[in-house]
Assembly symmetry: C2
Homo-oligomer: 585 residues x 2
């Protein structure tokens, strides 16, 4: 955590307390429960036994907060006994329950006070709120229901959200971004552009990709396949299910069972839909004996995985139950690891460039040596070696990264890739993992130069993440205006009138015979309407054909992004479009 970040988080935390104090002045019987700092602001959950605020009253609470702020000092904390704590919060069953939780964990109880307001808290507040929190840098944004402790079986409380930044400028920028994000909402554009749909008979979280969505998928897969071919990957294809024994071997069962689809009872055993591709790829590795000459072996597949997500947590393409993953597993020796990892990073950078992703960061999660053999595989030498290598490669590649201790996977260091869309929203796209444990469970070996069987390392990588999340991201990133190579419909051919239909059809057919996704509007709608339709559909190029064009043996080209281009020979248009597709402009 960098210091300025910490200051902002403390300010947000302070604002949560400040809001609770303001709420209590306006709603004296309210019972505050918990109020943490979160990304972009803070919230506090309350029970309102009698009168409840609505969206409208947020302004009043906000006003009250601003009134309290000038006299709000750094909160002073002190350790208290259980009895003292219970006395301070008598009548608030939520706080009393939290006190019991703290006692049960054998932790200390601390109370923090500012003005007349005291809260149960672990601390971490702004040291000089008046200076650190400009009165116009925060606002209350939203009121919503929330279950006590997040459990649907518990009482429903009222959650009030606030936004808070270092300055008003930052707050405004965030709100502008969110307004733009709403316009670019992938569910809204996905519907308007006929990209995907869900259906009750198919099931929640199981996307149906309409032709326009499938066209994007095809282009993404083509890109991945070409890029991976050049990176000397080989492709494989595996079933979407496997027997229970496979997942007992991989260790996914029983620990991961809650995240998997329930089993099919079949032929006296159980079959599970796959929740990840690794075990199948390990089986492909194991299908033939391997020697050091076969390594590195890079097995790639756009594998579809099925995962149970709670229905309440499903969200458009962002949280789904079927995921088509740009997956690959690289089996290599320790000596090959750094080069392989470097090549993976280069592939990321190539993709970022291709998609115009300018801002990204890698979160590099490492192990904690104190937890070896417990939270982490007990192989201190290999941990040190691979983490050093990963760190060095990240530094060499000049990829921005932050290192997060004690968040690695059980079996090796982990890298989460975070990117920012064109409007500045953050997305977690993909995860890479180094794995020096699971290959052993599957008895994967290679005969080394010395004739001895050794276990390879395995790198799990998926630079384009899943189609679902990546296309969801791209919809927002491009605001639906996909670049030519990726656009579901690349060209609209529009005759000015009925007299130009035949010529327009010929041009359309020429484009299609060159594998360009052209659409020909032969409807009897007026010319203006046809142009408007093509624009609404975000089609990158329109080819217009009227009298003057036919007279000149040419067509008129217009671009979605650059407006009128002019009259050109049809062959010129074709070669211009073809070269722009090839260059992924």
């Amino acid at each position: 955590m960098n210091p300025s970040n910490e200051k902002l988080i403390h300010a947000r935390h302070t604002l949560a307390h400040l809001m609770a104090a303001a709420v209590l002045e306006l709603y004296p019987d309210a019972k505050p429960t918990i109020g943490p700092a979160i990304d972009n602001g803070f919230y506090y959950d309350y029970e309102f036994p009698t009168e409840k605020p609505t969206e409208k009253e947020l302004k009043d609470i906000e006003k009250k907060m601003r009134k309290l702020l000038p006299s709000w000092k750094d909160m002073s904390g002190k350790e208290v006994t259980e009895a003292e704590a219970r006395e301070a919060f008598k009548g608030n069953q939520y706080k009393l329950e939290l006190i019991s939780d703290i006692i049960a964990k054998g932790e200390k109880i601390t109370l923090y006070t500012a003005r007349h307001f005291t809260d149960l808290c672990r601390g971490g507040h702004s040291e000089s709120p008046v200076k650190d929190i400009p009165a116009d840098s925060f606002k209350l944004s939203r009121i919503a229901g929330a279950y006590w402790k997040g459990n649907e079986a518990n009482t429903q409380l009222t959650r009030i959200y606030g936004l808070a930044f270092e300055t008003k400028v930052a707050l405004d920028a965030y709100e502008t971004m969110m307004k733009e994000a709403e316009k670019r909402d992938h569910r809204k554009i996905g519907k308007e552009m006929d990209i995907f749909d869900f259906d009750d008979d198919v099931g929640p979280g199981l996307a149906l990709w309409l032709p326009n969505g499938a066209a994007i998928i095809e282009e993404l897969e083509k890109l991945a396949k070409e890029t991976e071919f050049k990176g000397n990957y080989v492709r494989v294809k595996t079933p979407h299910l496997a027997k229970e024994s496979m997942y007992l071997k991989s260790g996914h069962l029983p620990y991961y069972e809650d995240s998997m689809f329930p089993p099919m009872e079949y032929e006296g055993g159980k079959y599970y839909l796959k929740a990840m591709n690794c075990p199948h790829h390990h089986k492909i590795y194991a299908a033939r004996p391997k020697s050091y000459r076969d390594l590195p072996l890079r097995l790639a597949e756009y594998g579809t995985c099925y995962r149970h997500e709670k229905s309440g947590e499903l969200f458009g393409l962002m949280r789904v139950r079927a995921l088509q993953m740009n997956d690959a597993h690289i089996y290599c020796t320790e000596e090959q690891f750094a080069d392989e990892f470097r090549a993976v990073n280069e592939m990321y950078l190539y993709y970022f460039k291709t998609f115009g992703i300018d801002k990204f960061i890698m979160r590099f999660s490492t192990h904690d040596p104190k937890k070896l053999g417990e939270k982490y595989v007990n192989d201190p030498v290999l941990w040190k070696k691979t983490e050093d290598m990963v760190r060095q490669v990240l530094i060499d590649s000049k990829i921005p990264f932050i290192e997060v201790p004690n968040e690695a996977a059980f079996y090796g260091p982990k890298i989460d890739v975070q990117v920012w869309s064109a409007i500045g929203r953050e997305f977690t796209l993909a995860t890479n993992q180094v794995d020096f444990s699971v290959p052993k469970k599957f008895n994967l070996t290679y005969a080394d130069k010395d004739g001895i069987d050794k276990t390879p390392l395995c790198i799990h990588r998926a630079p384009l993440g899943t189609h679902e999340r990546f296309i969801g991201f791209l919809i927002e990133h491009y605001g639906g205006k996909f670049p030519l190579w990726l656009a579901p419909v690349q060209v609209a051919v529009i005759p000015v009138g009925d007299a130009h239909m035949d010529e327009a059809k010929k041009v359309h057919e020429l484009l299609r015979s060159n594998m360009i996704r052209s659409e020909f509007d032969s409807s009897n709608a007026g010319f203006g309407k046809k142009i408007r339709n093509a624009k609404t559909a975000n089609i990158p190029y329109f080819i217009i054909i009227g009298d003057k064009d036919i007279a000149a043996g040419a067509v008129t080209l217009e671009s979605r992004d650059h407006g009128q281009i002019g009259q050109l020979k049809v062959e010129e248009v074709l070669s211009k479009i073809e070269s722009e597709i090839k260059e992924k402009k």
Copy 2:
């Protein structure tokens, strides 16, 4: 059935009886059970209570059959009472059980006799065996176990198989073909060429496609996608499962349940793996309102379907539980039907040409007007119309076809496509169906020109069948020697010695950067061994690089099929290979 075919079937049936007579002379206590004519010959199942013949004794039985044949007349039949029949077969519990079965069905009992041999039979024998069955046109081929009535719970009997043809030439040709088929067995070549594998932890019938298999899959899909794009298909992508309600709607449940994987109990309902893609495609059709302008709509997907096949019936890639199907559904009006169906046939012909399939036939299954409303949807006008159209298109396209009455699907006429491999073996590759019933169940409509909502027809088509069956067929068809465009490895680059490694590597990298599947043998094996390995792997081209080549600034090209080609500039080789791939030579 054509007359010559019937004669052959009668001869085979006669030979089954003749074998039983011969067996009884050699093994007097044997109990013959049933003995039908089959494809390519006949068999008879026996119980041998004491001495049993082995493979070795087949020659003796065959000799005895040839001895009996000259005095074997047309079998004379007569109807008998149950008591007479029971008397004739007393001591043979199998025949007695068959008699009970006949009685239970209320059918007549007939016995047929030749020489001293009498059998329970429905007739259908050669009228002049001596003339119709040349003594050298048949042979006994195999002895195997077989359960009484095919039920594993029953006694195991001994089955003796015979081959029988019209002439010795035809018999020899068949045996030669079968010997060749054994060499080309897709399971054997699939293993040798690392195309696919099965794994116990994954499950029977669930193929793992190794890199070489996936390379073939990729090429087939590329071909299908390009061909379908040119045919104005659009692609879609659908999940591999759906809720029970979907399959109740489609009518697959409960009737087809035995052929599906068992359900997953999920969120209080049931989910099933899809056994076909149609319902999902119907949902995509229904996702947006349609007008006559949207038709024909051709939705294509390489969808993976899961079907329960009994474990005893699984057979390599030919009978599997996961099928990747070259599927598409064409939604069209009645007026558009003939053109659409014609285009489908043209696509078949294009594929047959591409794969060098010279012999093929379409089995056109029609309805039986007497069974309308019972076995067939009760729409006599539409049956007549579509069957007439299908027939006319088949005639116009000059595609060989046979018409099979009363074998249509419930919801429309059906066409099974049968092809013959290069060695003359027959395969059923694909099925097309015309469907004028299911779209109604899914409420699929389009607004017609007159503004009225109408239901489209649907053509189900899958010209390349499934990857599993088609690749199984292609392995036999090509004997593993895949044409260049389809070969898993297209070029082997082989340095003559260590001094030529660098140059060879450069050539290999040049090929790969041009998307050619090149393999570079950098091992320390000798030159001869490297060449042999490349030949065993059926690689279409070898590029050899030695001193003379480097001196000449060239390489030596050799072809798997045409031997030495000679010294060429590397650019010439590249352009030759590229153009052959493009032309699918």
